[in-house]
Symmetry: C2
Subunit: 659 residues, 2 copies
Amino acid sequence: MGHGTNRVEDMSSPNNGTAATATAGGETIVEIHSVCLPPKKTAFQKLKKRVADVFFPDDPLQRFRNQTWRNRVILGLQSLFPIFTWGSHYDLKLFRSDVVSGLTIASLAIPQGISYAKLANLPPIVGLYSSFVPPLIYAVLGSSKHLAVGPVSIASLVMGSMLSESVSPTQDPILYLQLAFTSTFFAGLFQASLGLLRLGFLIDFLSKATLVGFTAGAAVIVSLQQLKGLLGIVHFTGKMQFIPVMSSVFNHRSEWSWETIVMGMCFLSILLTTRHISMRKPKLFWISAAAPLASVIISTLLVYLIRSKTQAISYIGHLPKGLNPPSSNMLYFSGAHLALAIKTGIITGILSLTEGIAVGRTFASLKNYQVNGNKEMMAIGFMNMAGSCTSCYVTTGSFSRSAVNYNAGAKTAVSNIVMASAVLVTLLFLMPLFYYTPNVILAVIILTAVIGLIDYQAAYKLWKVDKFDFFTCMCSFFGVLFVSVPLGLAIAVGVSVIKILLHVTRPNTSEFGNIPGTQIYQSLGRYREASRIPGFLVLAVESPIYFANSTYLQERILKWTREEETRIKENNGTTLKCIILDMTAVSAIDTSGLEAVFELRRRLEKQSLQLVLVNPVGTVMEKLHKSKIIDALGLSGLYLTVGEAVADLSSTWKANGQP
Amino acid sequence: MGHGTNRVEDMSSPNNGTAATATAGGETIVEIHSVCLPPKKTAFQKLKKRVADVFFPDDPLQRFRNQTWRNRVILGLQSLFPIFTWGSHYDLKLFRSDVVSGLTIASLAIPQGISYAKLANLPPIVGLYSSFVPPLIYAVLGSSKHLAVGPVSIASLVMGSMLSESVSPTQDPILYLQLAFTSTFFAGLFQASLGLLRLGFLIDFLSKATLVGFTAGAAVIVSLQQLKGLLGIVHFTGKMQFIPVMSSVFNHRSEWSWETIVMGMCFLSILLTTRHISMRKPKLFWISAAAPLASVIISTLLVYLIRSKTQAISYIGHLPKGLNPPSSNMLYFSGAHLALAIKTGIITGILSLTEGIAVGRTFASLKNYQVNGNKEMMAIGFMNMAGSCTSCYVTTGSFSRSAVNYNAGAKTAVSNIVMASAVLVTLLFLMPLFYYTPNVILAVIILTAVIGLIDYQAAYKLWKVDKFDFFTCMCSFFGVLFVSVPLGLAIAVGVSVIKILLHVTRPNTSEFGNIPGTQIYQSLGRYREASRIPGFLVLAVESPIYFANSTYLQERILKWTREEETRIKENNGTTLKCIILDMTAVSAIDTSGLEAVFELRRRLEKQSLQLVLVNPVGTVMEKLHKSKIIDALGLSGLYLTVGEAVADLSSTWKANGQP
């Protein structure tokens, strides 16, 4: 800015990119740069760029340019099936790592699969089915190396709560199962469509703050549901909210079984201790990874041994042997509950997608590779669609199992194949062994898994850094806990969007002053050394100027002007002559905004005040030009920097003999 | 920026507002300013400021400060009843102007009142009632000097269309009237509450573009409805949309009456001609102002004279004499249609409020006085609430009559009182004279009034300046025309909000370069003379960083980095060492955004690239500080200007012997 070259430059026309020069006899000598229009583009070119920005920010076709046809086919196959990318240089060393990690997550996936299926009010075997087919499909389509695929707690809970509000899983089990598979199908369809239509950015609207609150709320609900198994209650409420669950717990005090409670508490403390150890020392991850299966085995043995002495501890009972039966004939595309299935599908779909992608991104960033959001969506989507035809319900990448997978040294998606093979062996041969597995142990496994989802530290950080984000978080937490799962989520997303709108509706404006000895202009409220320039009022607008704020900004700037004039009168200062509007942070303007600028100029002119715009960004400049506001502002109405505006206007006033 | 003082300054800690100095042995010598935190504020102070910004941007209590109690009472009265402000210095000269303008608008208000009431499917006399009480109340409460109050076409149409969808005005006239008064009450309640709760900014969400489209669409619908009167059709559809109306017109071709059509066409051409004359020469405003009343008188005489010869031209018939009867007993606060009344009230309320405030602001800005939005809302709201108890339906400031009022030289709200008095005389004595007034003339008056509302020039300007605004405009136009009035409006508001969200979701980023010989950094795409600095990549983000764009921005910046590295490799340039992020236009950041910045820094570090932030605004700086990102960035991670960052980092590299 104003680097002391000995010239005064005229404002050249906005179409002209280079600075025109002219010599003037003024005392203050300064170089003036003209403000350029961006290069001309047709409306179609702009639309094309905009569409590319919105839908193809990753430029997926870039890799195909300048390639032979053969290479293009290979690249195409690789981008459709990432297995072709890493499959060609897969070796025994990688395989050894994958076997270890695959078996580790299998030991976790089998008890969790059975437990989560119960959370969704589905037969336990469906949880194992869902840990077999989807991981195989993900291994071929998915781009993450560490994602461990299978049923997860949040999606299971949401599906269970939404479906059982309309259909009872005990009275109408076939219809319930049909709806579960249909929801899974729609979840997959929705996920795959988001990926295909490249609408992945929609899941960004679930902000971190919303998710922290939502997950914690869901975890509390899941934990409350476990009171049934933990206390051995037989007649439990079908509702999910805090109040009916608690009243159900205390109204059925007579059903509490002390044997169940003692067993539950013992295993709960063991599992929590192993979890604590593994969290302290990540190298001991296998302790917490092996604990659930070990607990299942020990507790099953226990129940088997005392089976003749007490009947107080309920157990799973008979589970069918054999592989996933086909279920495409159970999909339900008409009738009264179709809307419910679609709604449940969309909500569980979006939640499981968010979890899967977040988990994938987390571990990809730890190992510094890229996970492609849209491709992951398609992979998860196809996996669920295929799952819905093979007796699986909604699956995605689980955070807890992926962490174990990562720590166990998984190198590629082969660990998912190993896990699926272990589940296959279980399904074919080991099912009778689960006959005496007590339900309480499943409750304990779920409790241990979801307790870790209550991230109170993240909530505390939100409170410290951004009170509004904390408010969003609380909205989703209490919304989920006291209203309902989908409504709580909707409230939180609504609050987040209102926050954006509020920021746009009432943007910040601040008065700038010059930092002495420099050409830097900064906020007077923030930089004590900054000082006002007599005769000027420099204002910065920190937001796009839209219909939603154009009236407010106009009034606010006039108020700044009035306040400044009062201040000047009180201090007998130099009369105010010019308002400089620093537009650097005005990232967009619409027709209402243009009108507001025009009107502002007109009203300031009536008070004999000049309006000067400084450094509008490309798109804003273009619109100012098209709407003829640039012409209305005149030659000395547009500058590149505040410093140049002040220098040029001051010298003009001096040349005209004004004070 | 870097003004050539012979010092190198260290980054001082962000808490320290003054620039610390230190001497270094480097070759490039530059002055470095530290980035300040804004003055510390507690969360409560920030909340207070935020609330004040949102709800009290006009600082209504400012005038009361430093005043005696007596003055405060006077100021309080004046602000509640603006009549006390101008009433004390009202004189005969002002009164003379007001009488002339008041009588002029009365001559327009009487025929329009009757016509608009028919548009709302209400008895014609209700239109006159509504031109009597509300203007009197507005004269006491309103702050605009030129607003002419009474029924308006859009609100009448919307009320008519929404109510008659559920209740037939011909089969159930009493219930229909009850609902109309109840809607008016809720409209007033809603308007007054918006004013009292200072939520006036909500009406800003109806952007100019939305309103242009909506008004034009409504005008077309109103015009189509007039085909009934213009063609003399008896059995006309009760629907409002384009298709049913047109099919109704052509299905009842046998009912067309040539006498009515001839009369209608004659008067239509007369009225359009006078309107054209007055638009060309604003001084001849009285020609178009007097024309409707003159047409009514002439056509009534005509029908009276030929009444024995033909019955083809339908006329109004008997109208009751006398003042507004009380109607508070007709308000309807329970029962099946309450929700409809509330919905209709809110939508007509918001539309009439938008029109009233826009009209008030337009003429206030022409005469350079202030109209207070929240106060106007309360005035219009109370006027409608009082109206609903005195047989009036929704009223507001009419654009056409206010323009006539302004041109006729109105000086204060007394012109409304004069108009009300003229209506009073009409109601008391002149009602029988309207017996033979033909319905076709009312249709012609409405047509002439609404044709002017189709602002195709504004639509063309939207197209030229902002394609997206034009799209919004078309959405509301076609939505109103083919779907329904409230839904069309909702679609347009939804599209406007999506535009804001889209802008936030996919913000613009651009690469900056240095303009040689200066410390100015500007967009490389826009300023041809700008050039890259070897070793640096300067990026500017033009949007707040929110959950909705944090992932995108992170990916986009990494993509910029990859592209830059490819470019450097191709040209054998200097290795990229530092990414400078110009944060000037980042007007806000939330926790997701902070996390994205942190993650970006981590990922760039893995590629041995340094991340530097430049000039974050106050609130962003505060959050960067609170979340410890500033500490993570280190001493040379934050600068006030791009120039200082480049200079300081280059000199550090040189001092360390790097290329």
